[in-house]
């Protein structure tokens, strides 16, 4: 047996598994998204495109917009906080560079659920911060932190920060730091050097980080479930409700399909701009 034939055979079990348990389920989801529920509540294949007009019902549009808004806010905050952190580690980390990278990654190895829960323990009405505030006599009734958009976005930022810092750090670390020196030699001040040298050189890292944060944030439901409430629910919560409370699988499948389609378009745009940028860099 030639090596290629042999290698072709080793491809089969994994590929077969992915077809059966990943591709076909995607197809089933698409099919069910046009389906109906029978009298027993089971999802049945049918032709009901109204599931999709229901997604864009005035009742649900705010939830969709909120999801995109929260995810965009998360990306922005991750960038505003994460970029300077990555910059500090890459440029001034010195011998502590790898230690600092490890410290950024370490909390990330802790279960996301536990990390969000930690904020519940800190921010809840009976939580740590309210306890401290009461002890200091600054409040008697306590301050309400949970159930606010700030808490939900805060949970998302806390959860996905490392996805931003790591690619930006990698881009900064790759960058030739003599470019910054050159900028200064040419009498550019700090801001100008950053604006015209550092930022363009690391833009690819920023773009990659933004996508890596945006994708999980827009589909997240844990943060909104635990740190927020019905007023801060995101599309993930809506989807989860269809499967565990409303028992409306076809509508849940339609929401999932819309989410996937949106992210697909988003990815295509990202890949195209990344491709264009690397062509420009080569030119």
């Amino acid at each position: 047996m030639s090596e290629r034939r042999f290698a072709g055979l080793t491809l089969l079990p994994g590929a077969g598994w992915l077809v059966l348990l990943f591709l076909i389920p995607l197809g089933i989801t698409l099919a069910i998204s046009f389906g109906v529920t029978d009298d027993l509540g089971n999802a049945v294949y049918a032709w009901r495109p109204e599931n999709y007009s229901q997604v864009f019902d005035p009742l649900f549009v705010p939830v969709l917009l909120r999801s995109v808004g929260y995810a965009a806010a998360t990306v922005t905050l991750c960038l505003l906080i994460g970029y300077p952190i990555a910059y500090f580690i890459a440029r001034f980390g010195g011998k502590y560079k790898y230690l600092l990278v490890a410290l950024v990654v370490l909390p990330f190895l802790v279960n996301y659920l536990i990390r969000v829960y930690a904020w519940v323990a800190i921010l809840s009405d009976e939580g740590l911060i309210n306890g401290i505030l009461k002890d200091m006599g600054m409040t008697t009734d306590g301050v309400r932190f949970l159930n606010t958009p700030f808490a939900v976005v805060g949970g998302l930022v806390y959860g996905y920060m490392a996805f931003m810092i790591l690619p930006v750090y990698a881009a900064l670390d790759r960058m030739d730091s003599s470019l910054i020196e050159a900028g200064k030699d040419l009498y550019a001040n700090g801001w100008q050097t950053f604006r015209h040298v550092t930022w363009p050189a690391t833009f690819q890292g920023v773009l990659a980080g933004s996508v890596l944060v945006f994708l999980p944030a827009v589909g997240d439901f844990v943060s909104a479930q635990l740190l927020g409430g019905p007023d801060t629910y995101m599309v993930g919560n809506l989807i989860q409700q269809q499967f565990f409370e409303a028992n409306n699988y076809p509508f849940g499948a339609a929401l999932t399909t819309v989410l996937m389609a949106f992210l697909l378009i988003f990815m295509v745009f990202y890949l195209r701009s990344a491709g264009r940028a690397s062509e420009e860099a080569r030119a």
Binding site: P13, G14, I85, L128, N189, P216, D220, Y249, G252
Partner: protein, 291 residues
């Protein structure tokens, strides 16, 4: 770089202007870094600290005790959940590592029409949001009439772990020096012997690391398990989630601390293993790295 002329132009403008700002000085950044580390670690420290609190309060630390840990291990249901989580992670690790490693070998070595398609199919699960993964898995199992149980969780976990293994192992395989294999076969080794005696030892550290990572991911996973779990025995993260929704209890702090220990030590081991194993006289086999 295209922006250099613009930078130079700006520099000329700036020459007569204000003195350069201290934007690039590390003092401000150092403060920010400190605050960042406090923000990152404080919540985790709170969970660990209060898991040893003797009181029930989350506000006052009354004294050290391990009662919440004995509560956890004394609770039959939670113990079952822990065992279920370990079982799921173990089976997922073994199956996904085997399938993923074979797939990696196939992708690197075969050049048939199927491999580019397979490659794309292998990469998609890595970018699919967890909730989409959960929904598709749940719909598959309900539509084919498979009762939700530990088995369905394991099937879903394996599906979304294969790609991680493939990506990691593929990196190692692609860096191998093929001439060593050719030499082995010239010396009369069969293809199987070459695989076992030459390829496998060189790739082994990567396979082990990928396996451990899979174990940690599966043990920690919440969303996929949440969608595919049955009623009777639920894995630990699902159990934690339902109890958080009914309020914060000190036992969750203890479980959280234990879970942190498991995942951090597993991943630390995954990172350390290739280095430990790689050092032991394998330089000859490793190819690219040794050059």
């Amino acid at each position: 770089m295209s922006s250099t002329p613009a930078a130079a132009e700006n520099a000329r403008e700036a020459r007569g202007g204000k003195p350069p700002k201290d934007f690039d000085r590390p003092r401000f950044l150092r403060v920010l870094m400190g605050l960042f580390l406090v923000w990152t670690f404080a919540p985790i420290a709170v969970v660990v600290l209060f898991s040893f609190n003797s009181g029930k309060s989350l506000q006052n630390f009354d004294g050290i005790s391990t009662q919440w840990y004995s509560d956890f291990f004394g609770d039959q249901q939670l113990r079952e959940s822990l065992i279920a989580s370990l079982e799921i992670a173990l089976v997922t690790m073994v199956v996904a590592t085997v399938l993923g490693s074979l797939l990696a070998f196939g992708l690197v070595r075969s050049r048939n029409r199927l491999s580019p398609v397979t490659n794309v199919m292998m990469l998609i699960p890595l970018v699919v949001p967890e909730i989409v993964a959960g929904v598709t898995a749940l719909l598959l199992f309900t539509q084919i009439g498979l009762r939700l149980s530990l088995t369905t969780i394991i099937l879903a976990h394996i599906t979304f772990s294969i790609s991680y293994v493939t990506v990691i192992v593929r990196g190692r395989l692609a860096a191998l020096n093929r001439e060593v294999e050719e030499a082995a076969m010239d010396l009369g080794a069969t293809r199987m012997q070459t695989m076992r005696l030459v390829v496998l030892p060189a790739v082994w550290p990567a396979i082990l690391a990928a396996g451990l990572l899979t174990f940690a991911l599966s043990f920690d996973d919440f969303v996929l398990s949440f969608f595919t779990t049955g009623e009777e025995v639920q894995p630990l993260p699902v159990r934690i989630y339902s109890s958080i929704r009914f309020g914060v209890t000190p036992t969750i702090n203890a479980i959280g601390t234990l879970m942190m220990l498991v995942s951090i030590s597993t991943i630390a081991l995954a990172l350390a293993l290739p280095r430990i194993l790689g050092r032991r006289g394998q330089t000859v086999l490793i190819g690219k790295d040794a050059v």
